[in-house]
Amino acid sequence: MAQLSTIAFLVENKPGVLFKVSNLFRRRGYNIESISVGPVENPELSRMTVSVKADSRILNQIVDQLDKMVEVIKVKRLDPMRTVAREMALFKIDTSDPMAREESLRHVNNYHGLILNIDPDFLIAEVTGDPATIDEFIEKTSPIGIEEMSRTGVTALEKGRLKL
């Protein structure tokens, strides 16, 4: 049964590595929901987090295929029960109608979001949470009018002593 899972891995921080990783996903037909990359404490490495929908056989395949890449140093499929996963999203909301403005401010507030910018007709809000929470925010806010949005993709860390 296909489920949404998170795989985290450390790669060499070298040109072309992001290309090779995404090329692997494309070539093997794995479906990525999101991918995020960033530096870590060691400047020679980067950490990538992908969120994929797949059954467990395919998930094992993905882990094994990533592990096989020379540029990939460590791979782990994160256990959802022992993982904190977050995503950030920016929203531009049409607030030319004062009612809409009020309502969107309330939504943002309910989701512990931040207002980053206010123009006469638009505001930009930041919402952070697990991906499901962000989906929920989108659903609630859509009727008001989301002009534009940008999501970062999931990033995640395991709890306690667990480590990549």
């Binding site: 790669v11 060499e12 072309g16 290309f19 090779k20 090329n23 692997l24 070539r27 056989r57 094992n60 395949q61 094994d64 295929q65 592990d67 096989k68 890449m69 020379v70 540029e71 990939v72 140093i73 460590k74």
Partner: protein, 562 residues
């Protein structure tokens, strides 16, 4: 540390790897390297097309067990390598390809003969990299050889921008290379081997399937020991041919779409299937759901990602095939098990073997391909090397030409690349000039890389090409005959070229035997005189390769006639 150019560092790095031969075609973006090779003892074997150079390196690697090296210029030179790289990589052949590239400051500008070969080759190499300064070259070359020839072997490409070849820098040659993300684990896990031992020692109808991994890890002796100990019939995949001598009593032949009756039926009825260094390709398994339905599958492989990819296993042993077989054998020595019950099982092997013995052929004016294969075997010494092209000729070779030792039979398995066999034979001859090398070809395949006859002649690398000439792209025609109502399309080759004249045009010998005896004599003479000879064997364009499992069917559903 010494100051030298990138090109000099490149050539010295190859020498330090103990490379002796480079197969290639020159060009603008590798001129600095050519100029250093001019000054070096490395042998440069010039192909007439870069695809040929890559296949030669591949053939060299398979025949010798060492890394094969090919070299091409940027742009079209690099893209011409692509088929060769993909072919070597999917068959786990240790090949390193070097390509020239436009100077660093021109990369990304669509400069003359610029192709993003790193991007192009990413999914058909085990690893690839581009160097950005001369001092990176020794490390890059050493890494390329290391990655290509360790773990599951494969193809590595190194892209060398021209200005990096020219620039001079302090150069250091590393003694060792390592990658944080590349750890090869050869040692199999003891517990995994324990489980495998338990399963095997309780097997009533054991079958062993051996793939190319057995040959890559030089585990043939252990394979034979295991088979004899278990009294288990052995089948090979196309890549595994030669891992078990074809005249061994327990050898059941090839399994798969064109498997022998005994191999396909025994695999279908096995209760324990030990698969060593094979990857369950669709040509071997036929319909997955019907593959060895009653068997507990034990999979020995060095590549973890192959386990459970196509077939669910009960036990896997991850590691080097030789070490794994040794480990299991030593455990078996301390395990009591009863193989007397395997008598019945062996009788089955005999029964199927008789039942599916290829019919004696007569009453056809043409020479028949199986007969030609047997005659070729008679005419060649046991240690001769054979490569094949692709199509019917390949399957006739696999079914009817007996191989007696590992690294004596080579074929493009994973990609099925027409035109592979001939240049691969040239590479094999370069590796083993002491033994005869024969390419078993179809007329269509041979035409794809026939221009390398010039290399045979000019470089004195004699190869015998047996063209099973049916004036057809025979395998495709066979499918059109069997499954498309004989609607021949894009398969009729006509009578061009005249292979005898073609050979002569290149300064090689060409003969067209009329009988099997004449054929055998021609082969013997070519071997004795060690000359390049093209033998044009006219066969029936209507001849089919059987047995055959029709597409979508299981291994058991063999067709033995049309």
């Amino acid at each position: 540390m010494v100051e030298m150019s990138g090109a000099r560092a490149f050539v010295e790095s190859l020498e330090r790897q103990k490379a002796e031969i480079i197969f290639g075609v020159s060009g603008g973006a590798i001129l600095p390297i050519c100029d250093e090779l001019w000054n070096s003892d490395l042998r440069f074997i010039m192909a007439r097309h870069e695809q040929g150079a890559a296949h030669m390196a591949d053939g060299f690697a398979r025949a010798s067990g060492r890394v094969g090296v090919c070299l091409a210029t940027s742009g079209p030179g690099a893209t011409n390598l692509v088929t060769g790289i993909a072919t070597a990589n999917i068959d786990s052949s240790p090949v390193v390809a070097f390509t020239g590239q436009v100077p660093l400051n021109m990369i990304g500008t669509d400069a003359f003969q610029e192709v993003d070969i790193i991007g192009v080759s990413a999914s058909i190499t085990k690893f690839n990299l581009q160097v950005r300064r001369p001092s990176e070259i020794p490390q890059a070359v050493k890494s390329a050889f290391y990655v290509a020839s360790t773990g599951r072997h494969g193809c590595v490409l190194v892209d060398l921008p021209k200005d990096v070849q020219i620039a001079v820098e302090e150069i250091e040659f590393p003694e060792e290379v390592s990658f944080r993300g590349y750890n090869i684990n050869l040692e199999p896990d003891g517990r995994e081997m324990d489980w495998a031992t338990t399963l095997l020692s309780n097997a009533k109808r054991p079958v062993i399937m051996a793939g190319g991994g057995v040959i890559a890890s030089n585990a043939s002796a252990e394979l034979v020991k295991m088979a004899e100990l278990l009294v288990a019939p052995v089948t090979t995949t196309l890549m595994g041919k030669g891992a078990m001598p074809c005249d061994h009593q327990l050898f059941a032949g090839q399994c798969g779409m064109h498997g022998t009756g005994e191999a396909n039926l025994l695999v279908s009825e096995a209760d324990v299937l030990l698969v060593v260094g094979a990857r369950f390709s669709d040509r071997t398994t036929a319909k997955l759901e019907e593959f060895s339905p009653g068997a507990k599958v034990i999979h020995i492989d060095i590549d973890r990602s192959e386990v459970d990819k196509n077939i669910e296993t009960v036990t896997r042993v991850i590691g080097d095939a030789k070490l794994a077989l040794e480990g299991i054998l030593s455990r078996m020595a301390n395990t009591r098990f009863d193989t007397s019950r395997n008598g019945e099982w062996l009788k089955k092997l005999e029964k199927f073997r008789k039942q599916y013995a290829p019919p004696e052929l007569s009453g056809n004016p043409h020479m028949r391909a199986p007969e030609v294969m047997r005659a070729l075997r008679r005419a060649l010494p046991r240690e001769a090397l054979v490569t094949t092209e692709v199509g019917q000729c390949q399957m006739w070779s696999a079914l009817y030409f007996d191989a007696y030792a590992p690294r004596t039979f080579f074929s493009s398995g994973g990609l099925g690349t027409m035109g592979w066999g001939f240049p691969a034979a040239i590479g094999a001859k370069a590796a083993r000039p002491d033994v005869p090398v024969v390419d078993i070809a179809g007329d269509g395949s041979f035409c794809m890389t026939e221009n390398n006859l010039a290399t045979c002649v000019e470089e004195n690398l004699p190869v015998v090409v047996v063209v099973l000439n049916n004036r057809m792209l025979g395998m495709v025609a066979q499918w059109q005959r069997l499954f498309y109502g004989r609607r021949y399309f894009g398969v009729e080759l006509g009578n061009s070229p005249d292979f005898v004249k073609l050979a002569e045009a290149y300064g090689a010998e060409g003969v067209r035997p009329e009988t099997i005896d004449e054929f055998e004599r021609a082969v013997r003479r070519a071997v004795k005189d060690d000359v390049t000879m093209v033998i044009d064997v006219q066969i029936d364009p209507e001849e089919n390769v059987f047995p055959m499992v029709p597409p979508g069917k299981g291994l058991k559903d063999l067709l033995v006639e049309a």
